[in-house]
């Protein structure tokens, strides 16, 4: 059996990778992907703790996270498409002006 701490470390590493992705990448799509990584890292924590507690609540939270992730992806990608139409760029730094 694997100790809970191992799952948590995997989760922490994944989360940090996601965070790093948000900061390092210069492409909206990759940034959104990095956010998905972060969400999944959290999901892993939930499931692992839930297993530890012997209940299903952790898994249920994961479903809600998935639903939110789906909503986020849909809206985020729609915004990305809109931005791309506007500037022909996916670089977030191309959208630095506060209004246009």
């Amino acid at each position: 059996m694997i100790p809970l701490s191992h799952y948590l470390i995997v989760s922490a590493v994944l989360f940090t990778i996601g965070t790093a992705g948000v900061f390092l990448r210069r492409n909206f799509i990759t940034i959104l992907l990095s956010i998905e990584i972060m969400l999944n890292a959290v999901n892993l924590t939930f499931v692992a703790f839930g297993r530890q507690q012997g209940g299903v609540d952790g898994q249920i939270i994961v479903f809600f996270v998935m639903a939110v992730a789906a909503a986020e992806a849909a809206v985020g990608l729609a915004i990305v498409i809109g931005l791309y139409r506007h500037r022909e760029s996916l670089n977030p730094d191309a959208f630095a002006s506060l209004k246009w």
């Binding site: 965070t19 630095a96 002006s97």
Partner: protein, 661 residues
Amino acid sequence: MLALILLFPLLGFLANASFGRRLPKTISGGVASAVMVASFTVSAMTVWELAGLPVEQRAIEQTIYTWIASGDFVLDLTLRVDPLSAVMILVITGIGSLIHIYSTAYMHEEADSEYARYFAYLNLFAAFMLVLVLGANFLVMFVGWEGVGLCSYLLIGFWFKKQSAIDAGKKAFVVNRIGDYAFILGMLLLFAHFGTLDFQQLAATVATIPPEVGVFGVLSIASLLLFIGATGKSAQIPLYVWLPDAMEGPTPVSALIHAATMVTAGVYMIGRNAVLFSHAPGTLMIVAVIGALTALLAATIGLVQNDMKRVLAYSTVSQLGLMCLAMGVGAFGAGIFHLYTHAFFKALLFLGSGAVIHALHGEQDIRNMGGLKRHLPVTYWTFLVGALAISGVPLLSGFFSKDEILYEAFREGHTVLWFIGAVASLMTAAYMFRLVFLTFHGERRHDAPAHPEPSHPEPSHLAPSHLAPSPLHDAPPAMAFALIVLAIGAVLAGYIGVPHALGGHNQLAEWLAPSFAASGAVGGELAAVGAEEVALEFTLMGVSSAIALGGIAIAVLVWLRRPEIAASMARRYPGLHRLLLNKYYVDEVYNAVVVQPIRVGSQEGLWRGFDVRVIDGAVNGTGAIVAASAGVLRLLQTGFVRTYAGSMLIGVVVILGYYLW
């Protein structure tokens, strides 16, 4: 049950305020009157229930919800009926119902929407007044206190197209605010000192400490502040000046608010806090003196006024002064008794004057009246009953209550105050009959059809077709009904307080006793009455009757038989006459001493000096500083999403680090 009493008028208000402008007059007026009658029914049932309880437990309480819960301080929105408020709710809902019914006819000339607005205000007033008397603690009472002030303002300025009405409304409001300010201070002082605002708890606490004889301590200061509040509401010196002007409102409003109910709120408040006041003899003395002086002052002004309603207004002020006098000498029961009888006959007199004004299309000057007896029989006879009652003619209601006040004042040893009260009573009888004679007797001095522009834009049905057949019409049925019921009340209302000396059994005093129980002031009233006391009471009763009849006799002599006496008197003492006619120039003095300095000070000091320099300077300076610092901070606002995310990350790391440390 208790909530129902004030819920009915509130519903009437909501109905008329929401849908009134789309409803025909019969419905909006009908609804307004019906809710008052319903409220009266519930009140009567409540009082019946109350009367069924044993004397010590005569209080019904209903906590509607917890209004304020802040730490240790919990204040419930509680209603409580005890014998004192029982009297009040009956007066408010009973006389209120009659005045509502009266108003359906009186206000009939208004447009539908105005009509509904009028009744909405009137119902709202009734609801607030009931809150005032039913409130079980100071704060609930204060809600009603402010609410009736608001309604009074709205109703005085009901004809808001007329400048004088607007001014009068504003005056009433502002003057009342001065009193309210003192009232709040008194309330807060009591709370700070005793930690409660509930009347019962307060009375119980106060009863345990000795009266402040010879010192002027917290109780005296608090009660004095409360009394200042009462001088505002109940039109006592020095804050009485708004009441005569309040006659700009419709006459039924004057009857309801400025004669029967609202203006008695101050007296009621003193009665409600009888224990508190009786533990502050210093304040009581002030109350008594102010009451007596007000009674005298108002009565002297009333002697020479020519506006029908103003005479009545000064008479109200005078009678309120008498009530305060009663309160001040510790005769709380007598004061409330007079409050109750006064409600009947003063409402009657106002409604009667309203009927006259209605008949004369807005004419209010008694110099232009006369000889109306034949044309307005119902109005005349009912008005006469009211005048007799207020003058204190024996066996009518005013006699019993006024006599009791004077008797109590004398018995308590306040001979000077008694004398002032007696003089005021004499004048009351005189000017009331002056009013009766000038209005209803003698020659007709008015010329209604030729009156193109009424001095008052009240009922403005000057259509020729309406005028041609009968320029004078007696009160319509709804008005006549109210007048007759009130006239009966004015005759009979006193019989629940017949003095012991007349073999009566002062039921009202007995009924009210629990409310004042702890004050110890009514003990004398209920104590076994000795022979000397009876003799004294008979003597004073005789004096009172003599005063009443004497006053009437003077009036008969001066204004009915030999009108030239009045004119020669005015000629002989032109200064005095002018002084009285101009109400002692109090308004002018107030204007010069209070209003103008405040105006000038506000304009030059506060506006030009403080507001423009300091406040605007601070605001503009802040703006300039923000603009300057924003120029620096702007560099942080890069627009780069990742910069923002980076600052978030810094925050996360710092906060996480802090908690892990």
